[in-house]
């Protein structure tokens, strides 16, 4: 592959779609403002001009984008006004992701994303090429990489690509995952805010009309139905969201990496080399706890990822009893353990007390704004229960190669960190803790281009020193 090549022309369409998607919000604003003004044609002119412009740039950038693999490098020429030559040397390429977006699917094509290590360095995206071309390109880019890493022959390439084991989400678990997705709280607040904005629709007259026309409807039932409606609607949306993003979720294991694929409309592929895995988290959301299930995330270092989703979903829904089996099959470095070090009994009341501090702020506020605000005092009971749960769940164990710790916010998280991947160990003591010889203990692992910190409250001070020694001794 020494000649420069162009992508499939569908790349231009894909880029156009991306421009539209990225500008959806300004577009909507423009639509609302534009169609309200007297001369509504202006909006359509602006829209047409914008679309035309994006279309032309799309075609131009497709025309000017050329790539080739030459002398251990992926070379790319691109750019309309500023011509850019991008050289990515093979041995710096960390991850090659092959994805199918909607546009790519229409034409039977794929998108190839090439990611290099470390923050700040540039990766490359080839928007649309045929599957066979993509595979050839991947093979080409991988070939010398294996030699670089000290593998003797190119033949080992074949071994590396072979799928050793694979796991697929069952439909039953997918539905369970969608059913118990905690996202609906977030969507509900968004929906609530949107309904709040629809003042022109929800006004006195309409409400009066509703109350008159429907028997048994008064202000109270109206509010209740409204709230129920919002909850049901947002729950439905979150249900669909989970179904769409985790349909056909697969984990495949090969010699050197895990490959995760998922998605109904937009296929996502994520490759995680084993030597980049830093930690694994098992998160049991509030709704999933009754089923003894949760989501498994993997933290990997050095990707160019958004801050928001630097943790990668490894399994969307798994019972806690199945985790050990999953670990053994896919990431044998990890194992589930029982928690040996727990907060001492003298920390119990600190745990009970802590969630209740929230009341110190909320109670006066609620009372101030609302005559019946004092009823909030009864929330002390669930808050105490919550504190007790936190106390019961907190724990940490340091093994030969693995640190496991468990803590609860609302969801219960069990984190598994490879000892050799620990970046920083912290201990924090406030004056009240100092009196009782308690400390908070924190372990930080790398995740994406930043870090992820796990914290356990109120462990015994000497126990913390011991843990610290255990963790650091082996890292050296």
């Amino acid at each position: 592959m020494s000649e420069y090549k162009r992508q499939h022309w569908a790349a231009a369409i894909d880029q156009l779609f991306n421009v539209i998607r990225a500008n959806l919000i300004p577009f909507i604003i423009l639509f609302v403002v534009g169609t309200r003004s007297s001369d509504s044609m202006v909006f359509w002119y602006v829209l047409l001009a914008g679309l035309g412009f994006s279309f032309i740039t799309g075609i131009l950038s497709w025309f000017l984008f050329r790539y080739r693999v030459f002398e251990e490098e992926l070379q790319i020429k691109k750019g309309i006004l500023i011509r850019k030559n991008l050289y990515l040397s093979k041995d710096r390429i960390q991850v090659i992701d092959i994805t199918e977006g909607i546009v790519q699917r229409l034409f039977g094509l794929v998108k190839v994303e090439i990611k290099t290590a470390g923050g700040g360095t540039e990766g490359a995206t080839i928007r649309a090429i045929t599957k066979s071309e993509a595979n050839a390109l991947r093979e080409e880019l991988r070939k010398t990489k294996t030699i670089e890493e000290g593998q003797e022959e190119i033949q080992s390439e074949v071994v590396e690509e072979r799928v050793l084991d694979s796991w697929k989400i069952t439909n039953r678990n997918l539905v369970k995952a969608a059913f118990t997705s905690g996202n609906f709280g977030l969507i509900a607040s968004i929906l609530g805010a949107t309904f709040g904005q629809m003042e022109s629709f929800i006004n006195e007259e309409n409400i009066q009309y509703l109350i008159d026309s429907l028997p048994g409807l008064n202000n109270v039932t109206l509010i209740i139905t409204g709230v129920v409606l919002v909850i049901v609607l947002s729950w439905g949306l979150s249900f669909l969201g989970v179904i769409f993003s985790y349909s056909d979720f697969r984990v495949q294991k090969s010699e050197k990496e895990l490959l995760i694929t998922s998605g109904l409309i937009e296929k996502k592929h994520i490759t995680i080399p084993f030597n980049r895995i830093q930690a694994v988290r098992f998160v049991e959301g509030v709704l999933r706890q009754p089923f003894g299930s949760g989501m498994l995330y993997v933290e990997s270092a050095g990707f160019e990822q958004n801050q928001k989703d630097r943790s990668i979903v490894l399994v969307p829904y798994i019972s806690k009893h199945e985790i050990q089996g999953f670990f053994e099959r896919f990431i044998p470095e990890f194992e589930t353990v029982s928690f040996e070090v727990k907060p001492p009994q003298r920390a119990f009341f600190r745990y009970l007390r802590r969630p209740n501090y929230l009341l110190l702020i909320l109670l006066p506020l609620a009372w101030f704004f609302w005559d019946l605000g004092w009823v909030l005092i009864f929330s002390i009971i669930p808050l105490l229960y919550f504190g007790w749960l936190k106390f019961r769940d907190a724990g940490i164990t340091v093994k030969e190669n693995l640190i496991s710790l468990r803590f609860r916010n609302l969801a219960r998280t069990t984190a598994f960190l490879l000892k050799k991947r620990v970046q920083v160990v912290d201990e924090r003591v406030n004056p009240f803790q100092a009196r009782k010889k308690l400390s908070n203990f924190m372990v930080t692992a790398a995740s994406g281009s930043a870090g992820i910190q796990f914290e356990i409250d109120d462990l015994d001070g000497t126990e913390v020193s011991k843990l610290r020694d255990q963790i650091l001794r082996k890292t050296i």
Partner: protein, 161 residues
Amino acid sequence: MNGSPEKRIDPNAKKAWRITGLSFGLFWFVIPAGYFLIFGKAIEEFSVVIQAVLSLFAITAYIITGFLLPSLRWERWRYDLSENEIDLLRGFIIKKRTLIPINRVQHVDTSQGPVYRKFGLSSVKVSTAATTHEIPALNEEVAAEVRNRISQLVRLAKEDV
């Protein structure tokens, strides 16, 4: 916290921090000044009591940020280097102890602002793949020494593996 680190940072840190504290502390006076500017003209709404309380608050806060905090902060800062880890201890109300394994260090650099330069101070920044940590206000030479020592240790640790 047993086996705590021993080394202190440079005593000049107090002076440097006092200067920065005293200059940035001036912002506290924005509150009483703002109150005076907004309500000062309308006599009936202006309250001498509120003005006095706000001014007193600003003066106290100014003294704390300008004099008390720099000394306390210096008093409580400790660090240490060993061939295996970097050890940091700081905080006067909430104490925080951080241990960075040497072989996790990605890079070290020293930096110096205008105030630090005046007092011949320099701070050392240690970055890992996840976090960045700072040892503030070391004597320039000490800072350079610390930086070189860390990078030397890192090289040794990495060769070992």
